[in-house]
Amino acid sequence: MGATLDMEGLERRAYQTLWEDGLIDVISGVGLLAMGTAWIMHEAALGAIFPAILVPVWSSAHRRLSAPRVGVVEFAPERRGRERKKQLVLALIGVLCLALGVAVYSFGRPTGEVFRAIVPGLPAALLGLGAGLVGAMCGIRRFLLYAAAMVVIGALGAGLGVRPGWHLLSGGVIVTVSGIAVLVSYLHRYPVDDPEASA
């Protein structure tokens, strides 16, 4: 224990345990893979349903995985209120990004060479922006790296003339593999043992 007891730090540390298991990465990565696949199969609009399916999956899987390993915490009403606002903002941004990406790519009639060159990279860049916002708002640094990777993939893919579905698939592979690595490390670090039983 340090010389000072940082109360905010204690609360932040408790909050960070929510994201330690890497499940949010795996779920996001799988979501990207699904969206990329849907896009490649010319069913880009289908991609919109995956976030709606995957969020409850994450919530349930996280509870089952983390409760026996790192325990259960109930946050104070102030934190819960902040979280609800964050979720609302993120959901709105997610829907807007997705709608914009799909609309621009599917229905847009891009004019001008520069615009035509940029458009295919937009879905990955917009999802990268979403990942960056999640990372910044929830304090998950890994998501800032994913955001940068998505923007780079979008830019490179657009430059090379690769279709957007493949950008999303590439990003999905990176996020899923990274999430699995975090998850495996978490499972090793926190085996299921009941400290209460040893009490």
């Binding site: 204690l10 609360e11 408790a14 345990t17 790192v70 325990g71 109930e74 009941d194 009490a199």
Partner: protein, 103 residues
């Protein structure tokens, strides 16, 4: 008794113990946490944590609620109003002691 000795003797010795201070502070910043979570957060072993929690519960600082989630037993721990007030009072007293030391 000097003012300094008075301040020091007014410190809540139950909370002054480092492990218990960490337990109380960890519970202060949340609504509640279970035994496993608190054990991970404080790095205390089950036996150690249990013994400190018994003392805090006896003093009325911590509320202990035992239940089952499926087949798994769960012990939820919450700081009581008395416990929250005790930590605030301890922080005030400790700040005064440290300020008088640096003066």
């Amino acid at each position: 008794m000097t003012p300094m000795a008075k301040r020091l003797s007014s410190l809540d010795r139950l909370i002054h113990e480092p492990a218990r201070l960490l337990i109380v502070a960890s519970l202060y910043v949340v609504d509640g946490a279970d035994f496993v979570f608190l054990s991970r957060q404080t790095n205390l072993t089950g036996g150690n944590l249990s013994s400190h929690l018994n003392k805090l519960e006896e003093a009325g600082y911590v509320d202990v609620e035992k239940s089952f989630v499926g087949k798994r037993p769960q012990t939820m721990l919450r700081l009581t109003r008395k416990g929250r007030a005790a930590l605030r009072a301890y922080r005030r007293s400790m700040t005064e002691v440290l300020e008088s030391l640096s003066a």
